[in-house]
Symmetry: C2
Subunit: 490 residues, 2 copies
């Protein structure tokens, strides 16, 4: 650790030195620097992963943010925390380049999904470990891929450019959010408050996985997302299934029936109006989808899927449609803990992904209307006994916030420049109109009037949002090349 700290202290002596003119490409600079500093890069990465980063864990969120401010300042990037009431801090860094024609904003997030340690092989999601997978090293930890790898790639790309005396040509801004996995509920307030700091000519969203083919990917939009939880009620305490079975309603069965009516067997959503209002894909977007690799057969084998949803449409096609997914279902106990009981409640967590043209509030209301149409009285807090007795069926529906989808036109000049920069480092890229996953792009566009383009770096099989999240080390190395090329844009 001491050796590492010395190295970091020494580095700034050469900061943006112009004594030697830039002779190498950003890609070559990234490769050269990485080859010489792998241990140092990994040390910074794993130290960052060791700081727990669930958005509700305010103390550790603050530790993450402070660490990242220091990381920027060590690279002589002007850094600060952008704060808003109740919000986790946004880490902000800026490099002003005299004579710059454009301002490029690099977005990532430093918070991670909640963890269930017992589901992890290591039982310790914040203790990074390296493991060989198919002969290649991967680092396992919460946020290894989603999304701390992107932050480390951006920081290391700065080191690499500086070591090769490549100076930025554009103004660079770094915006690292601290509650993306909690729904970015306060990002809108931060964007409004710090409009001057956060504007630019393009926001580059460094989040998510590259195409499953492994090719570098540039994505022009992302699905929106919202979440809701439904709880339905049987007896107000667990009842003996012998003495009351056939008479006391079973909430797990009630919820199964409610959910079963939401989708047909091919995964098509049956909730009325669910697909109403979708903005059609342009011919250019349809062409990009048609040209994208079809990774379906490979992924079916990988995931042991005997069938897929979507009536034979490809994965890329289906990601341009809205979705409704059960994230979890719980009622009483199963397996060794199971008892012969009629459960008291059943709960399901559902997320919905949205595409351009759909509003998340409307989409939630469509689900609520469906539940109502099934005969349920809906409450917004757990019902009391009188409420339960006053209605044949009661559902407590928790509606979380959400945000809408965006799609940036692929023919914008800045879009073409981004593609050119990425291809200079990584060769021909996969171009996707919409990423399946969600990032809060809508509020960026709405508040700042800036388009977004997503440049992910993670391997597709990174177990993002699940246990055993990981990043393939080569993807981190590739990500440094990509970020170096983007940080060197005009």
């Amino acid at each position: 650790m001491i050796r590492h700290r010395l190295a970091v202290v020494v580095a700034p002596l050469f900061f943006w030195s112009s004594l030697v003119s830039a002779q190498t490409t950003p890609k070559a600079a990234a490769d050269q620097y990485r080859a010489a500093h792998e241990q140092q890069i990994l040390h910074e990465f794993t130290s960052l992963l060791a700081v727990p980063n669930v958005a509700t864990d305010k103390a550790n969120i603050r530790r993450n943010a402070d660490t990242l401010v220091q990381a920027l300042e060590k690279r002589h990037v002007a850094a600060k925390l952008l704060e808003a009431p109740g919000a986790n801090p946004v880490v902000y860094g800026e490099i002003k380049t005299p004579g710059a024609k454009q301002t490029i904003v690099f977005y990532a997030h430093y918070d991670g999904q909640p963890v269930t340690p017992e589901d992890w092989e290591t039982k310790a999601p914040f203790t990074p470990v390296t493991k060989m997978v198919n002969g290649e090293p991967r680092i396992y930890a919460r946020s290894a891929s989603d999304d701390k790898a992107a932050i480390i790639a951006q920081l290391t790309a700065l080191d690499a450019l500086q070591a090769a005396n490549i100076r930025p040509k554009a103004n660079l801004r770094f915006v690292w959010e601290g509650e993306e996995e909690a729904g970015s509920t306060n990002l809108g307030a931060v964007l409004a408050k710090y409009k001057d700091e956060l504007g630019g000519d393009i926001w580059l969203i460094c989040d998510g996985p590259v195409d499953q083919s492994g090719r570098q990917t540039v994505v022009f939009g992302a699905r929106g997302v919202t979440h809701l939880a439904i709880t339905v009620y049987g007896p107000n305490r667990g009842l003996h299934s012998g003495h009351y079975g056939n008479w006391a309603p079973n909430p797990a069965m009630m919820l199964a029936q409610l959910l079963a009516g939401m989708k047909d067997k091919s995964g098509h959503v049956l909730i009325p109006h669910f697909y109403d209002g979708i903005t059609p894909l342009t011919p250019l977007e349809q062409q990009a989808i048609a040209e994208a690799p079809n990774n379906g057969p490979m992924l079916e084998k990988e995931f042991a899927l005997g069938h897929t949803d979507g009536d034979g449409k490809t994965l890329v096609e289906l990601l341009n449609q809205p979705s409704l997914n059960i994230n979890g279902f719980a009622s009483a106990h199963t397996g060794a803990q199971h008892t012969n009981v009629i459960p008291s409640t059943a709960t399901v967590d559902i997320d919905m992904r949205l595409v351009k043209g759909l509003d998340w509030r409307t989409q939630q209301q469509r689900v609520v209307d469906y539940i109502t149409a099934q005969g349920y009285f809906i409450t917004s807090s757990p019902p009391d006994k009188q409420t339960l007795l006053s209605h044949p069926y009661v559902a407590f529906v928790q509606l979380d916030d959400g945000y809408n989808a965006v799609r940036t036109p692929m023919d914008l000049p800045i879009a073409q420049e981004v593609i050119a920069a990425v291809e200079s480092a990584r060769g021909p890229v996969v171009k996707l109109p919409t990423m399946g996953g969600s990032v809060p792009l809508e509020m960026i566009e709405n508040t700042l009037g800036v388009h977004t383009i997503t440049v992910p770096i993670a391997n597709y099989d990174n177990n993002q949002h699940s246990s055993n999240e990981n990043i393939r080390l080569q993807n981190l190395w590739n990500g440094i090349e990509t970020m170096a090329a983007l940080e060197a844009m005009e």
Copy 2:
């Protein structure tokens, strides 16, 4: 404790003394003894409840059995453990009465349902506590009602009769099982091995709750039961619901759809042939059902039920039909632990109750046939990747053992004698053809050729099979009266 032990040691001096002829009724004897020995009875009861008794916990099961053998021997009842390979021991006690015309067998079970301590108010299911409910004391602990109260009632009734110098007229046998809540899988072997010890003119099953009206109840049969667990499969690891939602099948939705097809909204089972082969109720049985109290409206309020299953039929009517109940459902996580994931698996535990005429293996096969008809390939162990890839839909179905229902004809002379004995202590009784819950009566009838009649003592609201199981103390006192009357039968 020392004082208590002395009392127990002194008592046998008066054992079955015939110096004073019986002047009191069994009911009066029970009341008199109980009033004078409440603390002693409660001490023995709570000491027994403090010994954990989940059937899989072999060491503690043995401690329960040994304690009960000692309890019988203290009352000069010849006692021993009936053992069979792999079985939890059956505690056996016998009182031979010279000149007896009949042999009455008292059955109960000393094991209890599995526990989830965090669901209990005390967090300690084997630490009995007394709590006032509606101004009356109850004892809370696993097996407080199901079924250790019955054992304590039988033991205390022996003390009471002895203290009042009432000698048994019949041969009495006590059979206390140690794995009833685990499905009585070895009871058949024990019955076969110890046929001579276990025969009699009637088996009195002292298990389950009395009618919800609170009136003493005599039941002439019980539903059979069997259990199965179904697991269905999505991706072989949790996948990001954004990047794969719409394409990767969701096992929770698949299972919801599978389950939803098993029942209509009123709880009627839709699985083909589910109701085929049921033995019709006799006119006498139909009359008993018609005369039984209708506790439905009271129970709906009690359990906060806004509706009930069964198309308006009464609870007692519905308990004379087979049932299918979800005991628990689990897929990924809900609430604070929920993540935006497509779960890998979904599992449901189901129990089925059976009535006379249905065979549990047939009933299981009907469910299996239904699942197959829905397009599932069925495995009897967790499927490997090749199996998952070879079939569009795979369900791992675990079929547990079970047993069938029985109904003893209500017009047998011994049935009339049992009713008369119970009514001598407790007044007019509720007569039910079938108890909703299950006890392994079929194998008793089949192996020993002995009919069974169930004489429960627990309050209906005892949280049997759930957390916070309890017995209303007055029900234990009433149970001592009932058992004394039955132990004094001719």
